[in-house]
């Protein structure tokens, strides 16, 4: 009666083997590595880049342990952190600004483990050191900015339509236009309603004054906020790339917050600086008179023609640009990738605000068949995003840039145009920084307390329940194995609270075995035969185990749902630990007991203390 069918034994063995394989990578430790990933979509992480990196490392007199290529980056491993730093500097110098060269730690686990997807757990910031920022986007000012743009647009439109108004102003998040008579007001109202469907318009008349008040429709407000958030995330991503962080996390949290996590970053002052920086966009004319190869070559040596400046396009092409600024990025309301209506070529559609549109129309009228340049300035360093030729005069503020562009490039350019500056100011509302020494300490104390606690429980269980106690301890060890394997498989982030969760789960998981063992003793005391006692013990304890674990599971779910950051990690471990503990305490320990006692037809006593 106490025998498992073959499939159950196989199930247990399979679970243990899988558990071992997936737990294994966590024990290999990590090697220092340098990760190179292209910043731009037209640059690929490919074999050519790999050989270039190999060459650079060799030239620097360093020996890489291995250079490997994956989907988005090339990673070279080194034996010491010293070599790693030297290699980073050498690669940075050789590859320039087009690539992110970041320090990273890679698992030392062998290739075959990586090949089957067995990867070590990802260590949280409190264990490996790093910076966590929670940034709040000031949505109010994004809406005010949007309203400011509308105010300008309305002013220009009314002028163009020759509708006389006596005053126009932005009042908070609304725009108010005043007219002398109702007829003018109604004409304007019809016009604004037609051109600006995003505005909710109301009229009010008092004391001989006729007013239109416009506010953003809820739907448009939501769109504006989403757009602002997305743009800020894009900007942050660009800036973080510059920090050279191997695995940054930048993601939206809630409606108006962004989480930025930079593992391994030590220089928090610099990180804050770069994240909080403002970049600007400028539109200028290309200095066509000096764009001949000779002048360009001269400019490269430092002899720049009067009134011009030398900048480079993203592909390294030099461009001489006039010093005079036509437009700044503030005039750009939006930029989206798309396609040319006639040729079907990939294009970037730019939407300028009223003032921008007027200036742009004038400039394009005067400069047909000449090139203009859109420049991005960050930290005083400029770069040409794109330098298209002006074909015709462009009015209305809707600009399309097309030609010699791939879809990806169109996407990149529009992103850059949008992300050049933040859509709305951001503020750090939460910061958690952990230094590297504390991270290492945390791993040690987390590991040690789990180990000592486990040892104490093991000793006690074996003394108290003798042979059956040994089974319980084996089951408990299997539980830890399953839990760690599961966390590794899910690539969960291990934090110190998570480690506390593992420890606590061990402490709680033993409950199931105690329940079973006590029950077996009781059945024996009641005069049952050993086999019947084992059978009844497992059978009767099962309901109780289930009940008692479900309540803890409920608490775990609540912690997960309402908890944030570290508490969530604890909750995940707690929930998974409960699930694995049910399996290991009931199925695994029963399997061992069956194996040991089940085969004996005549069983006189069980060693249960």
């Amino acid at each position: 009666m106490n025998r498992y069918p073959l499939w159950k034994n196989i199930l247990i063995i399979a679970a243990v083997v899988i558990g071992l394989v997936y737990t294994l990578p966590n024990f290999y430790g990590e090697v220092p590595a340098v990760q190179v990933s292209p910043l731009r979509a037209n640059l690929k992480a490919d074999a050519a880049l790999m050989s270039r990196i190999e060459e650079t490392i060799k030239k620097a007199g360093l020996a890489a342990e291995g250079v490997a290529l994956d989907a988005t980056s090339v990673r070279s491993r080194f034996t010491t952190t010293d070599d790693q730093l030297k290699a980073k500097d050498a690669l940075q110098a050789a590859l320039g600004d087009d690539y992110v060269v970041a320090l990273n730690l890679l698992s030392r686990s062998p290739q075959w483990l990586t090949a089957i997807g067995a990867l070590p757990m990802y260590l949280g910031l409190d264990l490996r050191g790093g910076v966590h920022f929670l940034m709040q986007v000031d949505m109010k000012s994004a809406l005010v900015k949007k309203m400011e743009a509308f105010t300008n647009d309305i002013r220009i439109m009314l002028r163009e339509q020759r509708i006389q108004y006596s005053g126009i102003a932005r009042e908070g998040q609304t725009v108010a236009v005043r007219f002398r008579d109702a007829a003018l007001r109604d004409r304007a109202l019809a016009r604004i309603a037609k051109d600006m469907p995003d505005l909710e318009l109301r009229t009010a008349d008092d004391a001989g004054e006729f007013r239109i008040t416009g506010s953003l429709k809820t739907e448009a407000q939501r769109r504006t906020q989403e757009f602002a958030l997305q743009q800020n995330i894009n900007t942050l991503r660009n800036r973080v790339n510059e920090l050279g962080v191997a695995e940054p996390i930048i993601q939206q949290q809630g409606a108006d917050r962004v989480v930025v996590q930079l593992p391994g970053v030590q220089d928090t002052a610099k990180a804050k600086d770069i994240i909080g920086r403002t970049a600007t966009l400028e539109v200028r004319m290309v200095d066509e008179e000096h764009m001949d190869p000779a002048s360009l070559a001269q400019a490269k040596t430092g002899q720049v023609p009067f009134g011009a400046e030398l900048y480079y396009e993203r592909n390294g092409q030099p461009v001489l640009v006039k010093k005079q600024v036509v437009l700044t990025g503030e005039r750009i309301n939006d930029a989206q990738p798309g396609f040319d209506g006639q040729t079907g070529e990939p294009a970037v559609h730019i939407n300028l605000d009223g003032t921008g549109a007027r200036i742009f129309q004038q400039v394009t009228r005067e400069n047909v068949n000449k090139r203009m340049a859109i420049l991005l300035f960050e930290r005083g360093k400029g770069e040409v995003v794109t330098a298209p030729v002006i074909r015709t005069e462009i009015g209305g503020g809707r600009v399309q840039i097309s030609g010699r562009m791939t879809t990806q490039e169109a996407k990149d350019v529009s992103l850059l145009l949008r992300a050049g500056a933040l859509a709305a100011p951001m503020e750090i509302v939460e910061e958690r920084t952990v230094g590297p020494s504390l991270g290492a300490d945390n791993i040690r104390i987390g590991f040690n307390s789990t180990l000592y606690g486990f040892a104490a429980i093991a000793v006690f269980m074996i003394i108290y329940y003798t042979v059956v106690g040994v089974f319980s301890v084996i089951a408990l060890a299997a539980n830890v194995l399953f839990l760690v394997a599961l966390l590794s498989m899910l690539q969960a982030t291990l934090t110190l609270p998570g480690m506390a969760g593992i420890a606590l789960t061990i402490g709680m998981a033993i409950d199931a075995n105690v329940l079973i063992n006590e029950r077996i003793r009781e059945e024996l005391r009641n005069g049952n035969t050993p086999h019947a006692a084992i059978y009844a013990g497992y059978d009767r304890a099962w309901g109780t185990i289930l009940d008692s674990n479900i309540t803890t599971l409920i608490a775990g779910f609540a912690l997960f749902a309402f908890g944030s950051g570290p508490v969530k990690g604890f909750a995940v471990v707690l929930c998974l630990g409960i699930l694995t503990s049910i399996f290991s305490a009931v199925v695994v320990s029963r399997g061992i007991t069956n194996l040991y006692y089940g085969g004996r037809r005549k069983l006189d006593r069980i060693s249960i203390g």
Partner: protein, 314 residues
Amino acid sequence: MEFFRIKKDIPFMRHARVFNLISLVTFLVAVGSLAVQGLNLGVDFTGGTVMEVSYKQPPQLEGIRGTLVKIGLTEASVQNFGTARDVLIRLPVKEGVTSAKLSEQVLAELRKAQPDVEMRRVEFVGPQVGKELFESGALALLFVCIGIVAYLALRFEWKFGMAAIIANLHDVIIIVGVFSIFQWEFSLPVLAAVLAILGYSVNESVVVFDRVRECFRSRKYRHTPVPQVLDAAITQTMSRTVITHGSTQMMVLAMLFFGGETLFYFALALTIGIMFGIYSSVLVASPIVMYLGVSRDDLIRLDKKPESESGAVV
């Protein structure tokens, strides 16, 4: 080895009033302390900045305080953390100061005074975020309570659900109360510990109730009055109760002693919770079930196949 060889059922229920009195007194002390001096809420809930810095040599705390006062941080608290070389600096929220920059400023000043200072940890929580963390913590507590009552009501009967949750909320109040009495810092991990304990010590009530149900169904207790059935159930599960909690406590003690300052209060909350968990879920929950007037019919009626199961008992 066996700790508990109890031949006769211990008459717990006869002393129910004594336990009730103990509970009531501790409960009132806890509530009183919470009302009078409140909780020493951590930076997670109040907002503010906490910095942990480490020196090669034990530093003079007065010197650090002086440095902070010099840059206008008069309300800063400076204390040792774990060892004499580690120092914890707490800076309250200041209106109008972009607090994110504050830690950099402090570190720069400290470095000027003594170059061997090393930053171990910075935690800055804005007041708004702190408020939200507090709210979501309270929501989590509420959700756990509702979830557990609902589950127990489904699995047993509403009387058991009520009894278990009252007993365990009484635990929660006592843990929080102890933190208030000693003015220990109540942080996010401590809250997590409290919620975990809530789920965990309900286990205890579940195990006892399970046994109560089984006893009600068993022929042996057919004519036994309810209080004696409860006594029998508690006595029968006592061995398991003590051993399980002892094992969990061993693990928690390991965290308490080897877990460093970071896990100390987390483990401390768990310790108090486990201690009171044993007591309350057995000796508070069971009397409540009794007072609520639980009867044999309450449980038998819900059971679908009482005969086949009770057949295995004797």
